[in-house]
């Protein structure tokens, strides 16, 4: 019983760390316009809309976060191998991983923007100085919490995988959660808030992203404020739930049927979530009308 309580407690802590991690990850990627929103930021100058928005194309978010978290975990593992204190090792590992993230971010912005010279998009060097550091700060929180969570899984719950391998698994999951949950909020809503609500993104509006703010010009830093209100916490809840339910079902049901109990519980959880998703979708379609009529109205 005590072991079970300990396991649930660790699951709760890991879930809480994952929630912070997911929220920070999505805020970071929205400030840097990584992933889904990047294509429109990239397209805008080609359609004649010069902007001052950061464009950070380091593959997709899942592989990129796969690298940052694996790097943080791997360096922490190496430092722990020479008997560093785990907390210090994780902090140092995450800090070096964030340094690499910052380097990749600057080269991605410079590369993409310089390659758009034909469309008269200048390189705004002050963006590199101001925005990169903010994305690095958010990325540090995301990586540090994710690696700490992996460390808890290995050392408290006795997960058989070594730390760097868990880093790769949960890093990719973290990137995927942020990319799928929070990014559309920025990429489909905020970039197009000047368009009619619910109109989708018609081809004629492609690249016509919002470039001016209430006062002056929109900076990518504003996206941090915007994302931290809804997109970030939503991603955090998503990733936190994934981690918590994953650990919870393993701890509770692993003793049944030689481990198969946890597998069955996982399948049941997936089915429950599929039913919830379907209900939400049906509710949304019923409340906001069919998509096709909207399209006819705007065309």
């Amino acid at each position: 019983m005590e072991e079970l309580l300990f396991g649930i407690g660790i699951s709760a802590v890991a879930g809480a760390l994952a929630t912070v991690s997911g929220a920070a990850e999505d805020t970071e990627s929205d400030i840097g316009s990584q992933g889904d929103p990047n294509s429109q930021v990239q397209l805008a100058p080609q359609m004649g809309y010069i902007h001052r928005i950061y464009s950070k194309a380091i593959s997709g978010e899942p592989p990129a976060y796969g690298l940052w978290c694996t790097l943080g975990a791997g360096l922490a593992w190496a430092l722990m191998a020479i008997n560093y204190n785990p907390v210090l090792a994780i902090v140092l590992g995450s800090a070096i991983a964030v340094f690499v993230q910052g380097v990749y971010a600057t080269t991605a912005y410079l590369g993409r923007t310089a390659s758009l010279a034909k469309f008269e998009q200048p390189v705004y060097i002050d963006l590199i100085k101001s925005v990169t550091t903010v994305t690095m700060a958010h990325a540090f929180i995301a990586i540090f919490t994710c690696v700490s969570m992996c460390f808890l899984m290995v050392n408290a719950l006795g997960h058989p995988f070594p730390l760097p391998l868990l880093g790769i698994v949960w890093g990719i999951a973290l990137g995927a959660a942020g990319s799928a949950t929070g990014n559309p909020f920025y990429g489909k809503e905020r970039q197009y808030q000047s368009q009619k609500f619910g109109a989708g993104v018609p081809i004629s509006a492609s690249g016509n992203i919002v470039r001016y703010a209430e006062a002056g010009q929109r900076s990518s830093l504003d996206n941090g404020w915007f994302t931290s209100k809804m997109g970030g916490p939503a991603s955090g809840v998503c990733f936190g739930l994934i981690v918590f339910l994953e650990l919870w079902r393993t701890i509770f049901f692993e003793s049944f049927a030689a481990g198969w109990g946890a597998v069955v519980a996982g399948i049941v959880l997936i089915i429950i979530f599929m039913i919830i998703d379907r209900m939400v979708e049906k509710w949304a379609r019923k409340t906001y009308g069919p998509y096709t009529e909207e399209k006819e109205a705007t065309a």
């Binding site: 690499v100 080269t107 470039r211």
Partner: protein, 275 residues
């Protein structure tokens, strides 16, 4: 620079550097580990040009996937090559290239003829990428551990109360340190072309960024090698990668400034005249 010239320089440079790491075994020291990282830089430099060649067939979003397939297939070839010890350790780098070429050709054939992607350069490019992946992992592995022999990669020592104890979980493969090398290579090989993609992409800038990605990967591996190598050997690797990184990063800024439309500091949006 023609692709064949990049291929030649990358392949030959990488293999020569791989053999230079063997000086570690010959002289009984660990200082030559950093040559493994240089081999990886050569391989990544060449791989970037291959990805550019392959993706000129309209694979825009396929650039990161090309990096993943390169390292994913390469790591298999690399582990198999290090495991074969019937011909002695000196054959491993060449064997690694041969196995990777065969594996890459098979994967390329499946992608092109069975999945029907129908890209003329597919088989050759995937074979090249597989070699790039294998050599990158082998190089960075040699840099982290000082060796490329399988038996050394699964033997680790952990210290308990000052007494060294053999422990599989503390080894390079058992500790999962290869996962770090895998991800470093997978992002580094695709990043340069993915970042410089666009109508004004120029080869020298892209290849400079490729070298920069290689050196930053080396930098990370040099820090990770504290778990396996003596502190002085780590310091040599660290300094070499730091110097290489600072040089290529600065050079990349210069080249970007050359190619950029304008280089503005804290200036407002410059609207086009006709817009």
């Amino acid at each position: 620079m023609s692709h064949n010239k990049v291929l030649g320089i990358g392949l030959i440079g990488a293999i020569i550097c791989m053999y230079l790491t063997y000086l570690n075994t010959l002289l009984g020291v660990q200082y030559f580990s950093f040559f493994g990282g240089i081999a990886a830089v050569f391989a990544l430099w060449w791989g970037t040009d291959t990805i550019k060649h392959l993706c000129s067939y309209g694979l825009g979003t396929g650039v990161p996937s090309a990096g993943m397939i390169a390292l994913g297939s390469g790591v298999i070839a690399m582990i198999l090559a290090t495991k074969v010890n019937t011909f002695g350790p000196l054959v491993i780098p060449v064997l690694c290239v041969v196995i990777a070429a065969i594996l890459g050709a098979i994967i390329g054939y499946v992608a092109n003829n069975i999945v029907n992607m129908n890209i003329p350069v597919m088989v050759v490019s995937i074979a090249e990428l597989c070699i790039v992946g294998a050599v990158t992992v082998l190089g960075l592995t040699a840099m982290a551990t000082g060796t490329f022999v399988f038996t050394d990669l699964i033997a680790g020592t952990a210290t308990f109360f000052g007494i060294p104890v053999t422990n599989y979980a503390a080894s390079y493969l058992g500790g999962g340190a290869i996962a770090v090398v895998f991800m470093l290579g997978a992002i580094a090989v695709q990043h340069a072309f993915n970042a410089c993609l666009g109508p004004n992409e120029s080869q020298d800038r892209t290849l400079m960024l490729a070298a920069e990605c290689g050196f930053i990967s080396m930098f990370c591996v040099s820090i990770m090698s504290v778990a396996f190598l003596s502190l002085s050997a780590v310091l040599v690797s660290f300094l070499v990668s730091l110097i290489g990184w600072v040089y290529t990063y600065k050079k990349y800024f210069v080249l970007s400034k050359r190619d950029a439309f304008m280089w503005l500091d804290a200036k407002p949006i410059r609207e086009k005249e006709e817009a």
